[in-house]
Symmetry: C2
Subunit: 116 residues, 2 copies
DNA sequence: CTGGATCCTCGATGATACTG
DNA sequence: CAGTATCATCGAGGATCCAG
């Protein structure tokens, strides 16, 4: 009824943790990828150069825990699982994409080094 | 002339580091605060509950290195220094605020715990 | 293929003390 | 007040091996 807005500037407020989860290095890369549609473990690994299996799994689990990603298990053998954005996650993905694109678009002004 | 877009999905691309810097837990809190105008060290410390002097300085320095924040030293004694967003930083701050606000607005859907 | 369980290390972060 | 330097720790994250 009377919503009290969370305040990440307060140390113990859980919203701070959520911001950390979303701002996470890997989350920032995984989430936008899922905008392309459901992706499998291997597909994600291949696209995100340098991520370890462990971190990918951990990131996906965390996102799932916050209702941002849905894990879909086909129950087949060999195992077939894919991950897709929840409606909430989709909403977030657009915001994150904006952030990622901001970096890409302003890259020149941010750094002098060029990128191959 | 012929800009080559950086790609954070490539491990060694510097844009990935930049995304990490921006997505950093503390950066995500510091940057939006500066939208209110120039802020001094102590003011920031007071507003961001739980941040240490060390991390605040480190965060500000990093942001400065990427041309997102300008450090203004009045050269007085006792020391008087404030930090303000560069034009580039201001542009980024709006994006980050969108992200922060997204979390605040969707908090209920993200977690069941309430925040005081 | 998915991803759980371990081991291990290295760096990030906090606390503290000190300086101009 | 602003900020550096030092020290100690603790956990994030990578590598590896194993299992369904």
């Amino acid at each position: 009824m009377f919503d009290v807005k969370p305040d990440p500037y307060v140390a113990m407020c859980p919203s701070r943790e959520i911001i950390a989860v979303i701002g996470d290095k890997w989350s920032l890369l995984v989430v936008p990828l899922l905008l392309k549609g459901p992706q499998r473990n291997t597909e994600l690994m291949r696209q995100i150069e340098g991520i370890s299996q462990k971190m990918l799994t951990q990131t996906l689990k965390r996102l799932e825990r916050y209702n941002l990603v849905d894990r879909h298990d086909y129950g087949e053998v060999p195992p077939r699982v894919d991950y897709r954005l929840s409606p909430l996650g989709h909403s977030l993905a657009t915001v994150i994409s904006t952030l990622d694109n901001w970096v890409i678009d302003n890259y020149e002004k941010l750094s002098v080094h060029s990128c191959a």
